[in-house]
């Protein structure tokens, strides 16, 4: 920790933004955040205001993205839905990351049979088609937003656990850990003070992709009728409402579809860019 770090960081940022795809992704994500946080920047309309005289109206000055099957403004629903989709993505990934961290750290640090048992557990979980599990549990417990977040989190932590375990394994042999131990630091302190901060980097990339994935899972759940429940808007359920009208009310399908596409793409490109930029070995060619 010292002056060296900030210039490393600046280097990292410079490399990242030279990658135009990643930069593009970053901008998209940033825009999304801003709009989700302050919806009134884009529109003041009530996303739940029903207007049966304007059911499935095409885009117009009054409704820039058209209206849906109950005459509600699509732009406003997209904006509020974006916030919900983001929330779901973040909390679900947060839960997954937390679980993955705990499992990975413990497995990597304590090794031997603890590692063996935990990794077997990871293997078992990896065998299940995660969507099958999610489907079953949500169907049984009900599609509340909380359930959706928790269940997605509970079925996607395995990747993070493996990454963290690998990092922990290599980090624990390093000098600074030996030094800390020589100074009398206990295990827990070593894990949280020394190993964790250094193991975080690859997990961040993984988490970026995780948020994107969670948005897609929510849209699949909505297609099956057990995603975020209307009238609360989410991109997934707007898209699903649009699918039955796909030819005659294209705006109800195209806009949420594009939004999901661009957002997930943005996250992916950004995540990949971070990975490339952070890995000094791949510098230039």
């Amino acid at each position: 920790m010292g002056a060296g770090t900030s210039s490393i960081f600046r280097d990292f940022l410079r490399r990242l933004f030279r990658n135009r795809l990643a930069a593009g992704g970053g901008i998209v994500i940033a825009l999304l955040f801003v709009v989700a946080a302050v919806p009134s920047l884009v529109t003041d309309r009530d996303p739940n205001r029903i207007d049966i005289l304007r059911i499935l109206a095409p885009p117009s000055a009054e409704h820039p993205l058209g209206t849906d099957e109950l005459g509600r403004d699509v732009l406003s629903r997209m904006v509020h839905g974006g916030r919900i989709s983001l929330e779901v993505g973040f909390v679900a990934t947060g839960i997954a990351t937390a679980i993955g961290l705990v499992v990975g750290l413990i497995a990597g640090f304590y090794g031997r049979w603890v590692d063996g048992v935990l990794m077997r557990f990871v293997d078992i979980m990896l065998c299940f088609p995660s969507f099958f599990l999610i489907l079953a549990v949500i169907a049984f417990l009900g599609p509340s937003i909380i359930n959706i977040m928790v269940v997605i989190g509970l079925t996607h932590w395995m990747g993070a656990a493996r990454l963290i375990r690998a990092e922990t394994l290599s980090l624990k042999e390093r000098d600074f850990v030996a030094a800390a131990r020589a100074q009398g630091a206990g295990n827990l302190r070593i894990i949280f003070r020394h190993i964790l901060p250094n193991a975080l980097a690859p997990v961040l990339v993984w988490a970026t992709l995780g948020v994107a994935g969670a948005i897609l899972v929510e849209s699949s759940l909505s297609f099956l009728g057990i995603g975020v429940q209307p009238p609360t808007p989410s991109w997934g359920n707007i898209l699903t409402a649009g699918k039955d009208n796909i030819e005659f009310a294209w705006w109800l399908s195209v806009y949420p579809g594009l939004a999901i596409l661009v957002t997930v793409l943005g996250y992916y490109l950004l995540g990949e860019g971070i990975q490339d930029a952070a890995d000094p070995r791949l510098k230039g060619r």
Binding site: G142, I226, P231, D244, F248
Partner: protein, 546 residues
């Protein structure tokens, strides 16, 4: 713009005809040649769900019952005007005391395997219906039977402990073949549940689970061979896909949504290929209150909510006008419907007044009414996957918001819904629907004896007069007496509003134009299915032998 559309359609047709191997070109504008009834061709229907079994007694989903209807027959059925007529029974007599029905069965009817149909089959069916080994949900009506006899092969006599008006209709239950099922203690485990043999107009050909069911015309059917040679039902789980299949000719018939009916089937190309039908279906949607809930125990509150709900908005916004406002649990146009009951026109002022009378005021000006410190807020439950109900709930939410009532909407998946909330009575209000049976007896829904857990009077409606009238209604065969009893019941229900009756939706079937012979009637369009035909030169599926 229109020309371009027509050109694209024509191009699609040319390409489809070119690429397809042995498909005939679908009959389009105007027939060339005679329109006369002809044997042949097939009709392809789309279904969201697959059949789960072919024996009606042991299934409860509509896909299975529809399929079974092609293969099996009951003693009686409903004609085009919804009057009971004989199917396997040629005629019947009800004894003067109303306790005995004597059915005279048709002679010369054979099962699809050639064996003769006799009264023994009817007796066998009855015995199995009340048999504890049979996992049926429809035993109740048959348990009222005291004695059943078969004096000769074409007579079946059944005696009830007390006169039971719904009895006649209950004999519409499909009759089972004794000679094929007697060896199986549990008919749901018999091969017949997968390969049915009946007396109906169509014979079973094959069932590819999850894919399709195929039936072919029964040349020995006692009403004459149906014109159509084949009936195929394709399983297509997604409604969007089904609509696309309809338009590209993959299926010939489906029930469309109000939205599709009004907005997506009005193009010239579509009307050239399809007939659209519309008739009031046999069900109604309602908002039900848990009557023991402190919010809803006051009748004025329920009536206020009825006034606050803009039913016309729902019918226009959800049904696109394809339905009618409901005033009670019976369908308009039927003999038992009473149009002169109390109505609740949209009147938010009146609603607020009534709520005020019941003690609800908005003291703190936050837009939500309070009384004794408690806000008027509740949660309505409805089942997931039903677009109309979800939209209806959203509209009601907005309506109620206008009079200071806060309603949250919660959609639950069906199994959880029924078990956790309705059966265990953990709900405030629900938006659900009932199908309206042809016989007007609705004892199970309104009787105070049916308010136990898992029973159907889950709102907890208790009215002594209604109880008495329900008994009267089911214990006489005299139509006049029954009508009087049920009319009064409808008056009481309208006054008490245990439900806010919302609407009767229309059924909206769309059928390919090449299929002739369809005549809409109060019973719908399928009552004369065996008379549907395709003229010789418009037939499309000609590769089946018949």
């Amino acid at each position: 713009m229109k020309i371009a559309r027509v050109l694209v359609a024509a191009l699609a047709f040319v390409l489809a005809a070119g690429c397809a191997k042995e498909k005939q070109e679908a009959g389009s504008a105007g027939p060339v040649g005679s329109d006369a009834p002809a044997h042949g061709d097939a009709i392809v229907e789309g279904s969201i769900g697959d059949v789960s079994g072919f024996l009606t007694a042991v299934t409860s989903d509509s896909a299975s019952h529809t399929a079974a209807g092609y293969v099996f027959s009951g003693l009686v059925r409903y004609d085009k005007n919804l009057k009971l007529e004989g199917e396997l029974a040629e005629s019947w007599e009800v004894s003067p005391d109303g306790k005995r029905i004597t059915f005279r069965l048709r002679k010369g009817v054979t099962w699809h395997d050639g064996a003769p149909f006799t009264s023994e089959d009817v007796l066998f069916t009855y015995r199995r219906m009340i048999d504890p080994n049979t996992p049926t949900a429809y035993a109740e009506d048959f348990k009222q039977v005291k004695r059943a006899e078969t004096p000769d092969p074409s007579t079946f006599v059944v005696e009830y402990g007390k006169p039971f008006a719904p009895a006649l209709a209950s004999w519409g239950m499909h009759v089972l073949p004794k000679h094929l099922l007697a060896v199986y203690p549990d008919i749901s485990r018999s091969p017949l549940n997968k390969k049915p043999v009946g007396t109906g107009p169509f014979r079973f050909v094959e069932w590819k689970t999850g894919e399709k069911t195929v039936f072919e015309a029964n040349p020995d059917y006692f009403e004459g061979r149906p014109y159509l040679s084949r009936v195929v039902t394709r399983v297509i789980p997604d409604p969007a896909t089904m609509f696309l299949e309809l338009k590209s000719g993959g299926i010939d018939m489906m029930g469309v949504t109000p939205l599709q009916y009004t907005r997506q089937t009005e193009t010239e190309e579509f009307r050239k290929l399809f007939h659209k039908y519309r008739y009031l279906s046999f069900g109604y949607t309602y908002l039900g209150f848990r009557l023991s809930h402190p919010l809803f125990s006051d009748q004025r509150v329920r009536q206020a909510i009825a006034h606050a709900i803009h039913k016309k908005e729902i019918i226009d916004g959800v049904l696109f006008g394809l339905g009618q406002e409901a005033t009670g649990p019976y369908k308009p146009g039927t003999w038992v419907h009473n149009p002169d009951v109390k109505r609740y026109p949209y009147d938010p002022q009146r609603a607020k007044a009534l709520l005020g009378e019941a003690g609800w005021k908005d003291a703190d000006g936050d837009g939500v009414l309070e009384k004794e410190g408690r806000k008027f807020s509740f949660t309505v439950l409805t089942n997931a996957g039903n677009e109309s109900r979800a939209k209806t709930a959203a509209i009601i939410q907005q309506n109620l918001d206008g009079v200071g009532v806060k309603m949250e909407i919660r959609t639950l998946e069906w199994a959880a819904f029924i078990n956790e909330f309705v059966d265990k009575r953990k709900f405030d209000a629900v938006i659900l629907g009932w199908s309206i049976p042809q016989d007007p007896d609705q004892y199970d829904i309104w009787s105070s004896k049916k308010t136990g857990p898992k029973e159907l009077n889950f709102v907890g409606f208790q009215n002594a007069e209604v109880d008495r009238l329900l008994e009267e209604g089911r214990r006489t065969f005299d139509l006049e007496k029954r009508k009087k009893a049920y009319s009064r019941i409808q008056e009481i229900l309208a006054e008490e509003q245990p439900y806010v009756f919302l609407y009767y939706p229309d059924a909206l079937p769309v059928v390919h134009k090449r299929i002739h012979g369809i005549e809409p009637a109060p019973a719908g369009i399928s009552y004369n299915f065996i008379k549907w035909y395709v003229p010789k030169d418009q037939q499309r599926y000609t590769t089946f032998q018949q």
